[in-house]
Symmetry: C2
Subunit: 340 residues, 2 copies
C-alpha cells in the first residue's frame, strides 16, 4: 500500500499495519533484501574459506543537520560502516539499518535518506539486508538517527592492525583533510559562513582492495572520523608503541577549510572526515600504495604525510616548514558535537 | 582512567580522550570483547560448515522508562536480538551495541544498563563484541537509546520460516502473554495503576535449541514483540497462506494483566512481549515440543493455544468459551508507543 501520510506518526512505529506499510513502501521496496524472513539469512563462500575471519562493526549516526553538502545521514551511515570494515582489511558484505524517527518527520526526507543509502551500498558492492524502525514522540529525538552495523570477511592471512606499525613506515592519506567537519559546520549556518564546502563522505572499500593488492605489506589503516587525523594518529602511535612525525607542508587541506579554521580557531587536524583514511605501509611499498590509491576514485589526492619513528611511544608531532616541531595531542572532546 | 564525572557530557561523544575513558571505564571493562581492534574480528567453526548460513538482525530500543520491573533497556536490547536470531533457528553468537546518550544522563544509569546487558549475554552464551557511543545535546534524545545487532549461525538443513506452516500444525506459546506491555504501562505511572507486573523480558535461545532437538519438524517461530501475539499470528497466517484459530480459554494471561486491560480497554493479545514466542509444529511433534519447552527456564508455562487450519489465507480467529468466534485483526498501530 502506498503511503499517503506526508509525515511519520507514532502509529508507524507500532508493529501494526501502519508500520508494515512504512517499511514496505519506504525501506524494503528500495533496499530489496533477498529472501529475508524476520532476519537476514545469508551465505557466503568467502566465509567458509579456511582461515577467513568475520568482521563485525556498528555505528550510530546523529549528525545535525541530517542533510548537508556532499551527503546526508544515509550516505554517512553506509560509508561509515563500509569504511570501518574496509580499513580492517575486510571485504564488506552486508549491512543492517535501524532507524529512530521523531514523530512528524517528513516521509519525503526518509525517502531521500533511503535513496542515498541504496546508492552508496550499490557503489560499495554491499547489500542492506535487514533493518528496524522505531518512532518516538515529538521532542523524544531530533529528526532521524540511523544505526548501521556491518558484516564483512577478512581473507585468510590478512592482518591489518595498528600494533603492526614499525619505525620507518610511511603514513599516507587518500585526500584532503577536514572537509566533513567544515561542511557540517558551514551547513549549520550558525557562523554566518558562506563557504560551500562539501563533505568528503565516501566509501573506501575499493580503495583498500586496490592498496592491498599492490602493497600487501600494508600494516594498518584507520578512517579519520571523529577527532580527525590527530585522533587516529595518536591511537595508532599508542597501539604500536612508536612515535609518529608528520610534515605540516605535506598536509592536504583546502584553502577554504584552512580559512574557516583560522577564523574560528579550529585545527583542521582535529576536524572529522568521512571518507579519509590514514594508511601505514613499509617504505619499500609506499610508492606502490600511493599509485594504487591514486588509481581509485577515493584516492586521487593521495599523499604521504609523515612516518613512524623510534621515539617516545604514542607521541605524535608535527614539523613545520620552518623546522619547528609541536606535539599533536589527542583532544579531550570533539571540537563540534553531532558531527556524524 | 576512572570516570569522575557523574553525568555524561558532549565531550564523551567527541572521539577524544573523554570518549575513550567513558568507553573503557563503562563499556569494554564489562563487555571484555576479545582481541578487538577497531571492529571485531571473529572466527567460528560453525560458519565454515558446508550449508551453514549466517543470520543477521538489528533492533533499536527506545523504551520509556529505561528501567522497569523485570529489566531495563539493556536487558531488552540483548534479549530482543538473541530472540530474533533464535526464532529463526540460528544459534546466536555475537552482538554489537550502539548507544545514543542524551547529555546529562547519569553515568551510574549507563553502568546499570551495561551490567544488565553483560548478564543477559552471559545467560544466552553470546558475546558483545563491538559497539559505539554517541552523545547528543540535552533535548536531542530522551535518555538512552540502544541499538543491538546480532550475528548467528543457522546449522545446515534447518529451515524455520512462517511459509512452512501447514493446516493442522499446532500453535504453542512458551508462557503468559502481555506482561511486558502491562509492566511498561504500569511503570509509566500515568494511569495510577498500582499493579506490580514484571516484564517477561528473557532470552529464548536455549528454549529454541531444546525444542529443535526434540521436535526437529518444527515449522516456524516468532517472538511476539510489538503488536503482540495478534500481530505475529496475522503475519504467520499471511506468509503461510493458512487460517489460524486460537482458543480464548487456552490463552495464558495473568489475572493482573487481564484486569489492567479491562480497566483501560486494551486487548492482551496486542500487548507486547519480550520473552514470549509463538511456535508452529506438526501435531505429531506438539507434545514433544511442549515437554522440551517446559524443561527450560523460559518455557515452564508452555501451552498450546490453537492451530493452523485450511481457510481464508491470513485469517486469524479467536474461539470463545461459549463457542462464538471473532476475527483477530492486525491493528493499524500499537496501543502504546515506545514499548521497546
Amino acid at each position: 500500500m502506498a503511503l499517503k501520510d506526508e509525515r511519520v506518526t507514532l502509529a508507524h512505529g507500532g508493529g501494526g499495519r501502519a508500520m508494515r506499510d512504512l517499511i514496505e513502501d519506504v525501506f524494503t521496496s528500495v533496499f530489496r533484501p533477498d529472501g529475508m524472513e524476520d532476519q537476514a539469512r545469508l551465505q557466503a563462500a568467502a566465509l567458509a574459506e579456511p582461515g577467513a575471519r568475520l568482521a563485525f562493526t556498528t555505528d550510530s549516526f546523529v549528525v545535525d543537520p541530517v542533510e548537508f553538502p556532499g551527503g546526508d545521514i544515509g550516505t554517512l551511515a553506509v560509508c561509515g560502516t563500509v569504511n570501518d570494515l574496509a580499513v580492517g582489511g575486510a571485504k564488506p558484505l552486508w549491512i543492517s539499518a535501524a532507524f529512530i524517527i521523531e514523530e512528524g518527520v517528513e516521509v519525503a526526507l526518509l525517502r531521500r535518506i533511503v535513496a542515498s543509502m541504496a546508492a552508496e551500498a550499490d557503489k560499495a558492492g554491499v547489500k542492506i539486508v535487514t533493518g528496524d524502525t522505531k518512532v518516538v514522540e515529538r521532542g523524544g529525538a531530533d529528526g532521524v538517527f540511523v544505526t548501521t552495523s556491518g558484516v564483512g570477511v577478512i581473507p585468510p592471512g590478512r592482518d591489518l592492525r595498528a600494533m603492526n606499525i614499525r619505525p620507518g613506515d610511511v603514513a599516507i592519506v587518500n585526500g584532503v583533510l577536514g572537509d566533513h567537519g567544515a561542511a557540517i559546520l558551514a551547513a549549520r549556518g550558525e557562523m554566518a559562513l558562506s563557504a560551500e564546502i562539501a563533505s568528503d563522505c565516501q566509501g573506501l572499500g575499493h580503495l583498500m582492495e586496490a592498496v592491498l593488492v599492490t602493497a600487501p605489506g600494508a600494516r594498518a589503516a584507520r578512517d579519520a572520523t571523529r577527532g580527525g587525523v590527530a585522533a587516529v594518529l595518536n591511537e595508532m602511535a599508542e597501539a604500536a608503541g612508536v612515535a609518529i612525525e608528520i610534515e605540516e607542508d605535506a598536509l592536504p587541506i583546502r584553502a577554504e577549510v584552512r580559512g574557516m579554521c583560522e577564523i574560528l580557531g579550529l585545527d583542521p587536524l582535529y576536524l572529522a572526515n568521512e571518507g579519509t583514511l590514514v594508511l601505514f605501509v613499509p617504505e619499500a611499498q609506499a610508492e606502490a600504495a600511493l599509485q594504487a590509491m591514486r588509481g581509485t576514485e577515493a584516492g586521487r589526492g593521495a599523499v604521504a604525510i609523515g612516518r613512524a619513528v623510534a621515539g617516545a611511544p604514542g607521541r605524535v608531532s608535527l614539523r613545520s616548514a620552518f623546522g619547528g616541531s609541536r606535539i599533536v595531542d589527542m583532544l579531550v572532546g570533539e571540537q563540534l558535537p553531532r558531527i556524524c
